[in-house]
């Protein structure tokens, strides 16, 4: 059963790539492009949900080896609970903002390769969620970033052009350091495959040889790269200055999704490789890299949460409030990372998911608010609840989800993280997290009070008639409503989602399952015979049916070559 699924997990990349390719010759024709794009996102969403449930039921990690070259030599693509959750959410968010864009995109944006760019962006994002190879992660980041540069500057307005270079420059710096770090990782460990790196690190820790010299410094380099993309404390600067400039559906997609890719990269690589737990290695007490890095992350988390929300609460333009808020919420995820137990990672993952959905829907609401008022400045907004009650309800639900009032989704994300913070001696972070929650409430109430409750300002008459706005942004409401419903599901149905997140967290902190799923038995045996014996002694764990003692001859993941003269 699972054998046939394995190779198809790459569809998450193939579908957006195909859709992007198809919409290149269709540039300028909106309708067919939109159909193709919508189908693409909807199908990846459904596929992700299906595979997630199937994989959970089978307790399987799906792996596909690109070009049939077995890990660690080729590039392997891995679909586990973490990838699945994020793929599903990313597709849903993309779908929501894409549908929303029908009603907010100007025609010159559509002509400016909007459709292929957004499809290829999703190709990059999906690939970074899937890939099991550190250099391929770099490539997928580059795909994502290149698409995001182009989308950020699409339309080339003065506002965009005077800010976009910051995003491009800082990300370029980070990308360069990423590629250097990937090269150095190869130099230090001799491999690029994440599972293989994890295995080698584990072996080195267990054998008493110790980690390679400079490993912590290498981890710091990777942390810098991912933290910059994820907008951690003091690396977030590009975010507030650029996200508010681009067309709103793109801002929604970016605000919801892009920083999360950086956080994802930390979630994926750090527990697996750099800050591997030594809990299951009897001979070692502590992983020195882990101790150092977790402290660094903890300090970053405190500042990210608190300064982010202070920045947000002081703004008076909705887009700026929302984009700076991204930082503060990333802080909660970083908090989860700083604890790095399985359950905390589950909380971090859940928080990521719900934040993607909620933040994107808030941005999209902002799009329709702007249509009403012609501006996103709170001084110029007002009376929206009366003008557009539906929007008010959607916004309120989304805003309260963001604040984390129970039983909405943010609550359950925050809850586990704060709980684990108490449990692991990071009480000061928990306190900051709680204070941040109160300030988040303040900032959301600010938008609500000024934008929705207060009367329309007399100095600034609202730009559009409510009927016109409503009739011209039907798809906008559909996009928002989809995401809000999803957010409500994440709140009321937090338990089933947490089951996946919990499994994902467990897989992350004890990477044996991941290693075993990705690497062939022989590789594990070659690098770490004891581990191989331990793993393959267990009953029912053996992914391959051959007993270990047999002469290793022909082991290929899923394909034996037959054509050769």
């Amino acid at each position: 059963m699972s054998g046939s699924i394995n190779n198809f997990i790459i569809l998450f990349c193939v579908i957006p790539l195909a859709a992007g390719l198809l919409s290149v010759p269709l540039v300028g024709r909106s309708f067919p492009s939109r159909v193709i794009g919508t189908l693409s996102f909807a199908s990846t969403f459904l596929l992700a949900v299906y595979l997630l449930i199937q994989g959970y039921a089978d307790n399987t990690i799906y792996v596909s080896y690109m070009g049939s070259w077995t890990a660690p030599f080729g590039i392997s693509v891995v679909f586990d609970n973490l990838s699945g959750l994020l793929l599903a959410t990313a597709s849903a968010v993309a779908l929501g903002s894409y549908i929303h864009s029908y009603s907010t995109n100007a025609s010159h944006i559509e002509r400016g390769y909007f459709h292929p760019l957004i499809q290829l962006l999703m190709f990059g994002v999906n690939l970074s969620f899937l890939t099991g190879d550190i250099f391929n992660l770099f490539v997928s980041f580059e795909i994502m970033l290149m698409a995001s540069y182009a989308l950020l500057t699409i339309g080339a307005s003065k506002k965009q052009m005077s800010q976009a270079y910051k995003y491009v420059m800082l990300n370029l710096l980070a990308s360069t350091i990423f590629v250097i770090a990937a090269g150095m990782a190869y130099g230090m460990l001799g491999t690029l495959n994440m599972a293989d790196m994890a295995l080698i690190v584990k072996t080195k820790l267990a054998s008493g040889e110790g980690l390679p010299v400079g490993f912590t410094a290498l981890a710091v380099m990777f942390l810098l790269v991912f933290a910059l993309k994820g907008a951690f404390f003091p690396l977030w600067f590009w975010l507030p200055d650029t996200y508010y400039t681009c067309p709103i559906s793109i801002a929604g997609l970016f605000g919801g999704m892009l920083t999360k890719v950086g956080v994802y990269a930390v979630v994926r690589t750090f527990p697996l490789i750099f800050t591997q737990s030594v809990a299951d290695i009897a001979s070692v007490d502590v992983n020195p890299t882990r101790t150092t890095i977790l402290w660094i992350i903890a300090v970053a988390a405190a500042f990210t949460m608190f300064l982010g929300v202070l920045g947000a609460v002081s703004q008076h333009e909705v887009r700026r409030i929302l984009s700076i808020h991204v930082i503060s919420q990333v802080g909660y995820m970083v908090f989860g990372l700083a604890i790095m137990t399985g359950w905390a990672l589950a909380g971090c993952i859940f928080y990521m998911i719900q934040h993607m959905v909620v933040k994107c829907s808030l941005f999209l609401c902002c799009g329709i608010m702007e249509k009403h008022a012609g501006s996103d400045d709170l001084d110029k907004l007002g009376g929206l609840l009366k003008r557009d009650t539906l929007l008010g309800v959607l916004f309120f639900v989304a805003a309260m989800s963001l604040v984390g009032l129970p039983p909405l989704s943010g609550f359950f994300g925050k809850m586990v993280i704060i709980q684990e913070g108490w449990n692991n001696g990071l009480w000061w972070l928990s306190i900051i997290g709680l204070a941040t929650g109160a300030l988040t409430l303040l900032s959301m109430l600010k938008i609500w009070s000024y934008g929705y409750w207060n009367p329309e300002p007399k100095k600034y008459p609202q730009a559009a008639k409510p009927e016109n706005v409503k009739s011209s942004s039907r798809s906008g409401y559909i996009g928002i409503a989809m995401l809000v419903v999803l957010a409500l599901f994440l709140g009321f149905g937090a338990n089933p989602v947490y089951k996946f997140a919990d499994r994902a967290g467990e897989q992350l902190v004890s990477p044996d399952a991941y290693i075993m799923a990705v690497l062939p038995k022989e590789r594990i045996k070659l690098v770490n015979p004891e581990l191989a014996a331990k793993l393959y002694d267990g009953i029912g764990h053996d992914r391959m049916s051959e007993p270990l003692d047999e002469e290793p001859m022909i082991i290929s993941a899923s394909y034996n070559k037959e054509v050769h003269p």
Partner: protein
């Protein structure tokens, strides 16, 4: 198959996570149906409220009746539950709770605790809620829009409040707790075009929201520490508690959990210094003030304190005597409560707006209730028995609801027909006798006059204070007693002034020309049944005062069974007025005497000319202060680093990275040694060294020149030297690629330079910090390069690629002898082994081109399309 999958998805694999612990699941059909009924009782008001949304706006009567049905159904169901099942006892062994599994992983299931406290509150909320539905009809008149919006929100609140008091899971309590905050916010900001009201709504929500965060943290901390997630377990944990947490010092998490929870309770119940939000909440329509901000929601904090008292306050009576609670409880809760009590009373007498007067007396009364629970933590010896210093707490709470809600209801009614400003109400009894008589009767309850249940309640409180002298407090009890007397004096004085003003007696207020604005709500007056609803609910509620006062046995039949603590001062039940006096004569009752003093002083104060102006509470500045600090101060702090200037960002990113990097690396002497050991290979190959020198020289001279073309040429020559370096490193493919890319890049650069203006202003180079950062960064990466190369692992992937590039390594265990079919290994890696990277790479290339064409829309493409 899908359905199977779905079942697996949401199916009950409880206890799958290691840290899941909870009471056992459903215990039998009877109890689970009980849970369902309670669930129905909780959600009935919300459901009926939502149903009214679907009615046509004109259908007012139907709307009222439907909205009324919700709390009535809830009330009847709860009453039935009470009659059939009685009160759930709180001692150990009351059995597991029937629960409906919702989020077992997160310790949040649907289970309910129907002990006396919870059941009492639930009955109170649903009962008063029903009356408020009627009152709202009278208050809003025929205003369709207001009623259309009001009932759903009211139903939402009623549901949330019943949920708070009945939930067994702590987190479920929190969930409903926050919902009460939301509904309170929506109701305070009811008049949403009034910017002031909106601000006050925000103030209330943010303050209680802060408290909610505290409660949230406290519950999580407590749950994490003790693995107790339900109130029933919490209360039953006495013995275990004693053993495990005997020393409850500052370093104990439970201590901090209590503080956080109490912070939540204190903000919600408007304790000092958070009392400012409650008078602010009077911006809400009066039905809301009467219901949320006097009778029910503000008591959520008191309720929570009552929940915590048995364990944290040590008031749990067990067979082997009293348990020790947290040492801080008696001091913290009593002092905060007592201070709030006296502060609220002193401010209340200095107000003119009826709603503000009653709001501050509510603050005062909430302080009293809090103080009562604080006192409940003390134990004293009496006739050889160790007794808890608390009695009939339910009566205390109920009595407040039965005079304060009517006071608000009537204040709203008077504001409707006349004015809410007491200075404008002189002689109002002539115009509106029924309303005025009701408000005077309720006011008599406020004054705790003999004949009301309020009087007995006050006696109980004074007894509790008096008994402090048998405890460690000693003679300090007199201080608290003085505070209580001051509070009672103020209350009596308010009653006197209210009565004299309304009747028009001397001593009352005369119309004040500088009076504050009257109530904004002036609807057209109507007559008949619905119009009378503006005061009748108040009259119904106030009647309980006098029933309790004159027929305590009847009161006891209703509330006696609900009482949690009822065995200390008046073992035989609440005495009548005369009973209390006789009780006092028997053993020289100091409390009764104090009561008398308060009444006398109150009458004197009531007629006296002092304290007749209006004052403002200092604490009103707290929220604006927090707001200013967060918005202005926070904004400034944020602006300090978010300057908008790219150079600052780069500097900060680099400083962040370099400081962490050097912090990590300089502590690691091995990194230094490894780098030094690499230096030995310096003289390997001189042409390489020569090329290196050229690369460095061209790079270093780049910053020195400012002419653009020369810069490009230097850059190009640096690139070409790198090409040569690739050749030295035996990389022909790289050299070719770099060479051609170098050419194309130079062409691009030249083209772009021609597109830019020629005259570039000269900037001051301010080189020192740039050089410093550049040097540090360069050193870091050079060093790391040496270190990374020095690691030199035994098994590199590159080895495998060399062996498998052309023909498969036949006996290779990994790959079944399949090869890449090419001799140029780099190319085979690119298009085959790591072909996926290349696919991504050409995608990046295409994206760059798309980006360029998107930035510079091509004229030609427009022609063709």
């Amino acid at each position: 198959m899908i359905s199977t999958l779905f079942l697996t998805l949401i199916g009950a694999d409880n206890g799958q996570h290691a840290s899941v612990a909870g009471p056992a699941l459903v215990e039998g059909a009877g109890s689970s149906s009980r849970t369902l009924l309670l669930l129905l009782a909780i959600f009935a008001p919300l459901v009926t409220g939502l149903i009214t949304l679907f009615y046509p706006r004109k259908g007012i009567t139907l709307r009222v009746l439907t909205a009324l049905a919700g709390p009535v159904i809830a009330f009847l169901l709860l009453l039935n539950h009470f009659n059939v099942n009685g009160v759930q006892p709180l001692d150990a062994g009351s059995g597991p709770v029937a629960e409906i599994s919702w989020m077992p992983l997160l310790h949040l299931n649907l289970a309910f605790l129907t002990d006396g406290l919870g059941l009492f509150f639930a009955l109170l909320v649903s009962g008063v809620g029903a009356l408020i539905v009627l009152y709202a009809r009278g208050y809003f008149g025929k205003n369709e829009d207001d009623l259309y919006r009001f009932y759903p929100t009211l139903g939402f609140f009623t549901t949330a409040m019943i949920g708070v008091v009945l939930s067994d899971y702590m987190l479920l309590t929190l969930l409903f707790w926050e919902l009460t905050s939301i509904s309170s916010f929506l109701l305070i900001g009811w008049d949403r075009y009034d910017k002031h009201a909106v601000k006050l709504a925000m103030q209330a929500f943010v303050t209680t929201g802060m408290g909610g965060m505290g409660l949230f943290g406290g519950i999580l901390l407590f749950g994490m520490t003790t693995n107790v997630w339900t109130w029933s377990e919490f209360i039953n944990f006495g013995t275990w508690w004693q053993a495990e947490y005997a020393s409850l010092a500052f370093n104990n998490p439970v201590f901090w959990a209590f503080l956080l929870m109490f912070f939540g309770a204190a903000t919600k119940s408007a304790q000092f210094p958070w009392q400012y939000w409650l008078p602010g909440a009077m911006a809400a329509p009066t039905p809301v003030s009467a219901f949320l901000h006097s009778a029910t929601m503000v008591k959520a904090g008191v309720f929570l304190t009552g929940r915590l008292l048995p364990v944290f306050g040590g008031a749990m009576v067990a067979a082997d005597g009293l348990r020790a609670g947290l040492e801080i409880w008696p001091w913290l809760v009593t002092i905060i409560g007592g201070f709030t009590m006296v502060l609220g009373a002193l401010i209340s007498i200095n107000q003119h707006d009826l709603k503000r007067i009653f709001a501050y007396t509510t603050v005062s009364q909430l302080g009293l209730l809090m103080c009562m629970y604080g006192l409940g933590s003390f134990a004293y010896e009496h006739n050889g028995h160790l007794l808890q210093n608390i009695d009939f707490d339910i009566t205390q709470i109920a009595n407040h609801a039965f005079y304060k809600a009517p006071l608000f209801i009537l204040a709203g009614a008077l504001g409707h027909v006349l004015s809410r400003n007491i200075t404008e109400l002189n002689g109002a009894i002539k115009k509106h006798p029924a309303m005025c008589i009701t408000i005077i009767l309720a006011g008599y309850g406020l004054a705790a006059g003999p004949g009301t249940i309020s009087f007995q309640a006050k006696e109980l409180f004074l007894y509790a204070i008096y008994h402090l002298k048998y405890t460690a407090v000693g003679n300090w009890w007199m201080l608290l007693m003085a505070a209580a007397i001051v509070t009672a004096t103020c209350n009596v004085a308010i009653f006197i002034r209210l009565t004299t003003t309304l009747i028009g007696l001397p001593g009352g207020f005369k119309a004040d020309p500088n009076a504050i604005e009257a109530d904004h709500h002036h609807h057209e007056h109507e007559h008949g049944f619905w119009a009378s609803m503006i005061w009748v609910p108040g009259a119904i509620l106030v009647s309980f005062q006098y029933i309790g006062g004159f027929v305590p046995s009847l009161w006891m039949r209703v509330f006696g069974d609900l009482e949690v603590y009822n065995n200390n001062y008046f073992a035989e039940g609440i005495p009548t007025f005369w009973g209390a006096i006789i009780h006092g004569i028997h053993e020289f009752s100091v409390p009764l005497m104090c009561s008398g003093i308060a009444i006398v002083c109150g009458i004197v104060l009531g007629f006296s000319p002092i304290f007749r102006g209006t004052i403002k509470d200092v604490c009103d500045k707290i929220y604006p202060g927090i707001y200013w600090l967060a918005v202005t101060g926070g904004g400034k702090a944020f602006r300090l680093i978010q300057t908008g200037n790219m150079r600052h960002y780069t500097v900060m990113v680099l400083i962040a990275f370099l400081s962490v990097f050097y912090f990590v690396s300089l502590g690691d002497s091995k990194m230094f040694d490894l780098a030094v050991s690499q230096l030995g290979s310096f003289n390997e190959f001189w042409p390489g060294v020569f090329l290196g020198v050229i690369i460095c020289t061209t790079a270093l001279s780049l910053p020195l020149v400012s002419h653009r073309i020369i810069r490009i040429l230097l850059l190009g020559s640096c690139g070409f030297t790198v090409v040569a370096m690739y050749l030295v490193y035996q990389a022909p493919d790289l050299a070719l690629t770099q060479l051609t890319f170098e050419i194309i890049s130079v062409v691009l650069f030249v083209l772009v330079i021609r597109l830019l203006p020629r005259d570039v202003p000269k900037y001051r180079p301010n080189p020192i910090w740039r050089i410093a950062l550049g040097t540090m960064a360069g050193l870091a990466f050079g060093w790391m390069t040496l270190v990374a190369v020095g690691a030199d692992p035994a098994n590199k992937l590159g080895m495998w690629f060399t062996m498998n590039s052309y023909e498969g390594f036949v006996r290779d265990v990994y790959n079944a002898g399949r090869g890449g079919g090419g001799k140029n290994i780099v190319n085979v890696i690119l298009v085959d082994f790591r072909g996926f990277d290349t696919l991504g790479e050409i995608t990046v290339l295409s994206l760059a081109a798309l980006g360029v064409w998107s930035l510079l829309p091509s004229r030609r493409s427009r022609k063709t399309s």
